[in-house]
Amino acid sequence: MEKALVIDVGKCTGCRQCELACSYEHTGEFNPARSRITVFDFHEKARFVPYTCTQCDQAWCMQVCPVGAITNENGVKVVNAATCVGCKVCTIACPFGTINYEPATGKVIKCDLCGGDPACARACPTEAIVFTDVSVQGFEKMRAWAEKTDTAPQATA
């Protein structure tokens, strides 16, 4: 089963535990600036939005990389740091801004789903981020809407 991160912004409280978990997993330090997931605080709209790579099938970043540093590992687009030359072309190609250059290492960084057990999803206290079957990402939304469907008996002619 292919799995993906599913984000429900309605459940996010903006605690940024996902950023802490991500940076700790990848760098051994607590440093949101080096996290592969970022929570945006739209304070005046009362909304927190965690945002990260959705692992596009036809990944722009992967296709434009001139040195082939980004590879597809069972659906996950992974940056091979040893090959990456820090040219940043992928950061221009990505329509979502979720692959970024990291000054500390001179390489680009993006979500790699932590090899199959994403630290952000584990750390999220409200289940705003869950790691689940990619083919039924909309299941909970469907169910919520389905529940609102009027099932009262219809009058017959």
Binding site: T13, F30, A46
Partner: protein
Amino acid sequence: MAWARRILRVNLTEGTCKEEPLNMDWAMQYLGQRGLATKYLVEEIDPKVDPLSPDNKLIMTTGPLTGTNAATAARYSVVTKSPLTNCVACSNSGGYFGAELKNAGWDMIIFEGRAPKPVYLVVNDDEAELHDASEIWGQSVWFADDWIKEKHQEPMFQIAAIGVPGETGVLYSAVVNNKHRAAGRSGVGTVMGSKNLKAVAVRGTRGIEVNDPEAFEKAVAAAKAVIAENAVTSQALPTYGTQVLMNVINEIGALPTRNARDVQFEGANDISGEAMHEPRRSDGKPNLARNGACFGCTIACGRISQIDPTHFSVKDKPQYHHASGGVEYENAWALGADTGVNDLEALTYCNYRCNEHALDPITTGSTIAAAMELYETGAMTKEDTGGIEMKFGSAEALVAAVDAICEGTDFGKLLGLGSKRLCEKFGHPEFSMTVKGQEFPAYDPRGIQGMGLTYATSNRGACHLRSYTVASEVLGIPEKTDPLSTDGKAGLVKVFQDLTAFVDSSGLCIFTTFAWSAEDIAPMIDAACEGDWSVEKLMEVGERIWNMERKFNLDAGLTAADDTLPRRILKEAARTGPAKGLVNGLDKMLPEYYELRGWTPDGVPTGETLSRLGLS
């Protein structure tokens, strides 16, 4: 490790920013944040210094856990000598500012002197620089926040700032970060304003490591599980915020009402946490937009509200139609029950204004309540109020009074004195519900006896956050005691004071102690920091901090005579509720408290006590 081990010293007079190493000997004795910054303060300033003179210092400080993934490790504090109380001041705030400062690689920033003209500080990791603030001086916190981000093209800045009241000497200005999180009490923002310092903007990308990562992760995970399983921290606080208390405290007859003339408010339910969820008649939307967390917090008690756009307070003011920080319990009480106003939307507007202009909402509301009593008894007239009819229960008067403080009108300047100086000026000092010049918060010491001792002995003037015995007396945490009895409260207050002092020095939020005991907290500090940090050692650190603060206040000129309560609380019995007929029994608790503290009957730490704590 855990500590950044670096201090940024900013001399505003000379315009210099210098790095110096953190004194690790002191860190081992005072931990961080409240304890460690206060140690620096007492070593560096004369206790008798005029708080608003350039000789006072102001310290923004993080704890060793700030910025780590320990639940609630968001906290930072502002430490200085208070212009409201003349005591030591330490005001604590969450949001995202503290973690950013720590991530920039600084344990604290010490501000000294006074800038010749208004400035703001920008910290970008190692780089620190003062900038001309002339374009944001005279503007609000919200304006300054947007302006600085725009000016420097840095949307990732976390910013702490003051508003106009802090610039113009209102004695209870806060320092507000992230537009709605406040280091709220004791006028720390007023000191900032006296230094011509408008704001501090920080961007940090250096990262934080801990001493023993494996042990730390284990301790953090265990502690998070405790929060997730506790009914207060996993259900009550996220759903209702601290506002879960409004109806509870009203029912037990400890909700100071109309300047503490009463202990129960008939309109409590209208301004409660439950009411914030109710759809409004006007637009069908609830006041509460959602709950929000500070950095790293797995509780998320924060209230984010949206005012009814048709409400009289904002009808013609679209700049307040967006969401922002909603009322927490203390704010709803001070602006609401204490003024007799049961209009939730008006309270929310006033709360926005307190955030926009960095005012302490507790002192703001309580001072307005005192003014209402002065007005109703005829001591204050419309000539003094600029025509405002300052009657208890009037939402219009409340809104106009808060606007007056923000705008600095003549009446606003009067209110800006705080209730103690205001009531003295109008010949009725007994109308001021203060201890050491600071207004007490939302728990009436007639209905919760331990809070009387808490207020009387708090080192920063009346305050609930120095020993929250409400936890035991009302909520039964860690065990239930009788709120109407003074028995055992001296010991309870001492334990809560020492516990709180070390928690406030760690980077963690005191609200965790609804769920966590010291045994849950110590392993996280022990794993993150060098040295051995057992529960016993941390409680001793707390006791050391408490006595250090006490000694500073005594050296500043305070005496045991200041460890008292307003006459009303000691002489006028509660008129309704479970506490009917009771006053606060401070005289039954205070001597025992002094004795337990190892202080003389005059409230002075003995030589033996100071020596035991390494404070001689």
